[in-house]
Structures are given as structure tokens and as C-alpha cells.
Amino acid sequence: MLTMLFEGFDAILLARIQFAFTIAFHFIFPAFTIGLSSYLAVLNGRYLLTKDEVYLRLFKFWIKIFAVSFAMGVVSGITMSYQFGTNWSVFSDRAGPVIGPLMAYEVLTAFFLEAGFLGIMLFGRDRVGAKLHMFACLMVAFGTALSATWILSVNSWMHTPQGHILAENGQFMPVDWMKIIFNPSFPYRLAHTLTAAYLTTAFIVGGVGAWHLLKGRKDNIGVQKMFSMAMWMIAVTAPLQIVLGDLHGINTLEHQPAKVMAMEGHYESHPEGAPLYLFGIPDDETQELKYAVGIPKVSSLILKHDLNAPLAGLDTIPDEDQPPVAIVFWSFRIMVGIGFLMLGVGLLGLWKRFRGRLYESKSLHRAALLMGPSGLVAVLAGWITTEVGRQPYTVYGLMRTSESASPLEAPAVGASLLAFIVVYFFVFGAGVFYILRLMKKPPVLGEEGVGAAAEGPIRTSGITPAQQVKDQTDMDKGRE
């Protein structure tokens, strides 16, 4: 049998790969839909205020993409609420009294809100009236952000646990809920992650706009508007995100110094100012950063705001308590590198706008297109940095990953991992394909019979041959 394949494997390693795989896939969708739901609410709001058709046009364009992404987020999210129990049952038993209620609050306050109002947002415009429809859009946007808030509180507690005691049966017991929810890393993680979601969406919207501009559709007002809005958003959030990331890093240095040492590649301590390594090959065996290229003292400047501040290295941490340095070191560099490229796009956009060439500049459009999916990469890289960086613990300093897993045999975990990989690549691959196809069609006026009685409880998304012909004609008109 196929499962024989996994006989010799380590069940815990397989469970870790499975969790990493399923959460990474899942995280992509909320990272996009958190931002997109807010964007849709803004578009709908501006349409109601200005009565300018272009906003409605964009709303109709993006809501189809939102519907597909949201569905993928929902189904991959249901998996997550069971992953804890299936593969990490010991962790669930012990940490459940603390994190369980927070996750249940997430379901009750956020998931139901999103799901309850999503139907009205997608299909209800003509049934409930403009105001209530707008309210539904806001509730969906609010719900997605609220859901991120709860789950990041849970995640942050696992990084910086407080407000609990350890009971005799090994369970973490809540003592002070306010301390648990508002644990030290929570505000930083929340701000950094939510901003990442908005930035990710801005780059996807901007990338789609740039693609249409490069296709010569600069006279399409919808294309112009989405590109312009995205470039404003990037210009504001990209620098903000760098500041927030810096603050989050300083917070991490205080609470999880080993993670920062891994991020920085600091195997040895630097009593008189630590260098900022730009490149190097981390080697955990010999505990050294090979071929290191660094700028002296700059790491101390960034982390301590003092060139000569001493920084401890991994030589102060026992080997068995260290995270795997190479993954953290590199994922951190990918995230930061993308962050600065994003800032570059934001500045370039401002410059071109100032010069009045926002819709003409091919270099800007190429850069924006290339950077379109960069937010997703940065989000995953950042996630890997923080999650691998807190190893070898699930509850930092208190519970090890190696003692968190379910008592399962390797073939069970391996077979399910294989099933997840095959199904996710197939199903979500198809979804991404459909999303790209939706993005490829330019937003057109009168899309989906705006104002016609055709709006109903039915899929906003059905495409009839007649509609396609109409879209094609509109597209051709746009080209003329």
C-alpha cells in the first residue's frame, strides 16, 4: 500500500509538515480577502456617495474574484479548526482551556458575521436596498478583520504566554483573560499582519490594473481607477509596514531573543555592537555563519538604536533550545527584501503621479505587475520567520513541539499529508486559474446587467454566452 511509504518516517515531522502546508495554503486566502473585503466596502461606499458608475463597475469586477477566494478560504479554514485535534491532540488538551475559548470567540463573533452577511453582499443588492447592502459589505469586511484579531491573539499567546497557570494535569489554565488576550506580542503582531493583508491586496489590485494598462487599456476608467487607488494604498502602507515591522522586531527581541538571533544570523555574541549580515550560509552544526557579508554595528543600531549596544548570540542559548537558523535567516531576508521593493514601487508610483505619467509609465506598470503577487510571498515568508523562529516550542518556553503531537502512527499522518497536498494543489490550483481568468477580463461598464432585473439570489457569477459576447464587444470598444 501507498502508506507503507511512510513507515520509516517520523510522525511528528510529518505532522509539522502537514500543519505548515495546510496553514500556509489557508493563510494565502485570508491575507487577500481581508484586504479585498475592505476594498469592496470602500468601492461600494464611494459608489453610493458619488453615484459614479466606475465604482460599481469595479465592485462587480472584484466581487467575483472575492467570491472565489472566499470560498477557498472557508474550506481550507474548516480544515484548520480540526488540524489541532487530529494532529496536535496533546497540545489541544493542554492548551485548550486557554486558546479554545478564544478560537470559539473567533467563530462566534467573526466567522458567523462574515458568512451571514456574505450572501446578502453577493446576491442581495436588489433585495435589501442600498443601505442594508452597504451594511452587509461593512460587516463582511469587519468580520474578516475581527477573525484575524482573535486568531492572532491565540497565536501571540503561544509566542508570549501569560495570564495562565500550569495545573497538575498538565493543562494551561486561564487566570486573567485580559492578560491572555492582550499578551505582549499581540498588538505588534496584529498591526503588522493586518497591514500585510492590506498591502498584499493593494499589490494584487495594482498588479491587475498594471496588466490592463500594459495591454493598452489606459482609456478604461475602471482600469485607471483601480491602479490609482492601489498606488495610493501602496504609497501609504508600504512605509507604514516597515515601521510596524521594526517595532514588531524590537518586541520580539525582548520576548524571544533566540528568534531574533536566528533572523540576524548571530551565532556569537557581540558585546560592542553587532553587525547586520546581508548574506551568509548558516550552519547549525558548527554554529557559524559561513561566507558572511555584513555591515558592522548596524544590527545594534536597528534593534537597540545604538551603534555600540551589546547583542547576545545563539552561543548563550543551549543547542536543544535553538530554532533552525537557516530557514529563519532566509525567510526573514525574503520578507524584508520584498518590503523594501514594495516601498520602491510606492515611491515610483508617487513620482510618476507627480509627473502626470501614472497611466503611461511602462516601467511603473511592469514593476507593479511583477510585484503583484509579492505580498503573498512576503506574508508567507514572514509567517515562516515567526513560526520557525519560535521552535522548538509550541507554547514558547513552556511546551515543546516534540511533546505536542497526537499519538498517531507515521503512515496515518503521511497518508493524510499526501492527500492534502494532492487535493490542495489540484483544487486551489484550479481556483487560482479561474481567478486569473477573471482578472484578465477588463472591467466593463454595464457588466452583469447593472440596473436590469437580472440581479437575484442567484450567482452573481454565471456567465452566459450572450454576456460573453457583450463583454467582448465592450472590450473591443475599449480598444478603439
Binding site: V68, G77, I78, S81, F84, G85, S89, G96, A104, P457
Partner: protein, 345 residues
């Protein structure tokens, strides 16, 4: 240890039982809501025309992910209030749970994907059918596996990864597929007209008969499982429930089957089906109480202390009515028959 020094670290029975009741209600709501939802996938093979299939899906398109959120609440709530039970049940039911999750992925995305493609439409229809059937079947197996008992070792699952597989759990699996088919058919009687509706009536009859038969079979088999259910049902005071229960179920079954034959009864078959499911739930409750994992872990043994449970309980008491309120509103917005000609834009 120091835990004794802090108040609220004891397990409070009324709260633990209230939580168990709340979770039972959440699971019941999930079963009936996603039941008709999954039921449509089970009925899909009986509707061959694309137009009919579009209509079927449109009857639930605005509400399906709200329905599935109750499943997340079931998992999340179990982890919140009874983490020990969650930690034992999930590895014990590893295979059916993973199968259910993957099946829900397929049928969930089908809602969106089938409008996005012509060439692949039939494959996403198959994904919708297969996903719905496998999800329903897995849920039934999970129920059966829980009822037949789970081996526990200390604070962890103590069995192998195929222990759930038995004739009884498979029987429960088929029973749930039939039951969801019935819910789907009676839902369609409410939400559609003409040909689709009259076929739903016929399907409702078939699936209704099958459901009633399986309820009988599962009920007869349950007391003879290797757990103490026998004493529960056939000795006083359980006997006072055992005698009227089949009578009530029988009466509802007859009314349901008769109602399916009456063309002016559009809502009644669905409501009667809900009652049938509710009675099954009461029966399950009688069998299992006070265990949360028969026959090893009781509700009180799995409960977390007062401080943990009360924090969530207060919120749940406020939020669940609110959720029911806006969920009902969403259903009300999309009330009435779905127009088959509205299916395109």
C-alpha cells in the same frame, strides 16, 4: 499545586452540562442546515439537466458557508469547553475526519467553480456530488465510531487508526447519507416548483423510507453495542423513554410520508424531517449521557474549570441568539421559491 489557591479552578457541573447542551444544539443546527445543503449534492445525480442543477445550487448559494460555520463551532466549541474530549476524539476518528474535510473542500469550491467554466462543469458537478456524499458518509461513520466506544489511554487516544471501521459505523454512515438526502429533498419541495419540485417529492419518499429504515436499524443495534447502552434503554427509568420513543418516531414517520404525497404541503415535509432529526438527537443524548466519549470519559471529566468555561459561556449566550437572528434574516431575505429563469447574468 498553586491552582488550588486561585478561585474558579474547580469544575462546575451545571456549567459543564450547560456547555454539553449548547454543543449538542450547535451540532444539531449544523446537521440540519448542512444536512439539506449536503443533501442537494446527494440528490444531484437524480437531476441531469444543467438548468435544474443550477437551480438546486442557487437555493443554497447565499447560505451554504453560514451553514458550514456551525461545523467550525462544533470543533472549536468542543476544544474550548472539553479539550480532553477533542484531543481524544480527533485522533480516534482521524480517517473519517480527514476524509470529511477533504470532501468539504471539493463540494465547497464547486459552488464557485462551476460558474467559472464550461469545459470542466461536469467535473465540478462530480466534485459536488462526491464531496457531499463522502462528507455525509464520514460524518455518519464518525457518529457510529463514537457510539461504539473509543479506547482511551491516560489523557490520549489508545487505539489504532482503523478502529473506527465496523459494520455499525458503516451502517451509521449510510444512514446519515439517507437522512441528508431526505432533508435535501424536503428543502427542494419548499424552494422550487414544477418538475424539480415533483421529482423532489418522489425522491423525498425514497430517501424518507430509507431514513426511517436506517433509524430503526441503528436504534436496534445501539443497545447491543459493547457499551452499557442496554441498561440505559431497557431498565427503569430509561424504559419510560424507550417505550414512547418508537411510537413518536413512528407517528412522525407516517405523517411525513403522507405529507410528501400531498401537493399543497410545501413546508410540512421539511419541518417534519427536522423533528425526526431532533428525536434522533434526543435518543443519542439518552444513550450517551453522562459520557462525552463512551464508555471512558464523562462530560465532567473532560470539562475545563469554571474560569475557562464561564468566559466563553457568557459570550455564547449573548452571541448565539444574535447569530440566529441575522442568520434568520439572511434566510428571510432569500425566502420563497427560487426562480429558475433567474439563473443567469
Amino acid at each position: 499545586m498553586e491552582s488550588a489557591a486561585i478561585s474558579g479552578m474547580e469544575i462546575v457541573p451545571w456549567l459543564a452540562y450547560a456547555w454539553a447542551g449548547l454543543l449538542a444544539i450547535a451540532v444539531y443546527i449544523y446537521v440540519v442546515l448542512d444536512g439539506f445543503d449536503l443533501g442537494l449534492g446527494i440528490l444531484y445525480p437524480f437531476y441531469k439537466k444543467k438548468k435544474d442543477r443550477d437551480l438546486l445550487m442557487n437555493t443554497v448559494a447565499p447560505v451554504w458557508d453560514g451553514n458550514e460555520t456551525w461545523l467550525v463551532l462544533g470543533g472549536g466549541g468542543l476544544m474550548a469547553a472539553f479539550p480532553l474530549a477533542y484531543a481524544i476524539i480527533m485522533p480516534a476518528l482521524y480517517v473519517p475526519i480527514i476524509a470529511m474535510l477533504l470532501a468539504l473542500v471539493f463540494r465547497g469550491v464547486a459552488f464557485e467553480y462551476r460558474w467559472r467554466t464550461k469545459r470542466w462543469l461536469k467535473y465540478w458537478d462530480m466534485a459536488f456530488i462526491g464531496g457531499s456524499i463522502v462528507a455525509a458518509f464520514s460524518q455518519g461513520i464518525a457518529l457510529g465510531a463514537l457510539l461504539q466506544g473509543i479506547a482511551v489511554d491516560g489523557r490520549a487516544y489508545g487505539g489504532g487508526w482503523w478502529d473506527w471501521l465496523s459494520p455499525f459505523s458503516l451502517l451509521c454512515g449510510v444512514a446519515v447519507v439517507a437522512g441528508y438526502g431526505l432533508l435535501g429533498a424536503t428543502w427542494l419541495i419548499m424552494k422550487t416548483g414544477d418538475d424539480v419540485q415533483s421529482r423532489a417529492r418522489k425522491l423525498g419518499w425514497g430517501f424518507g423510507l430509507a431514513t426511517i429504515g436506517f433509524i430503526g436499524a441503528v436504534s436496534l443495534a445501539t443497545p447491543f453495542l459493547d457499551v452499557e447502552y442496554h441498561a440505559r434503554w431497557f431498565e427503569t427509568p430509561g424504559l419510560f423513554v424507550t417505550i414512547p420513543m418508537p411510537l413518536i418516531i413512528g407517528a412522525i414517520s407516517v405523517t411525513l410520508l403522507a405529507s410528501l404525497r400531498k401537493d399543497h404541503h410545501e413546508y410540512r415535509p421539511f419541518i417534519l424531517s427536522l423533528m425526526l432529526f431532533a428525536l434522533c438527537f434526543v435518543g443519542l443524548g439518552i444513550s450517551m449521557f453522562p459520557y462525552i466519549i463512551p464508555p471512558s470519559v464523562t462530560i465532567l471529566e473532560a470539562a475545563t474549570p469554571f474560569r475557562s468555561q464561564i468566559f466563553m459561556f457568557v459570550g455564547a449566550c449573548v452571541l448565539i441568539p444574535l447569530i440566529l437572528g441575522y442568520t434568520a434574516f439572511a434566510y428571510w431575505v432569500f425566502r420563497g421559491k427560487v426562480d429558475p429563469d433567474e439563473g443567469y447574468h
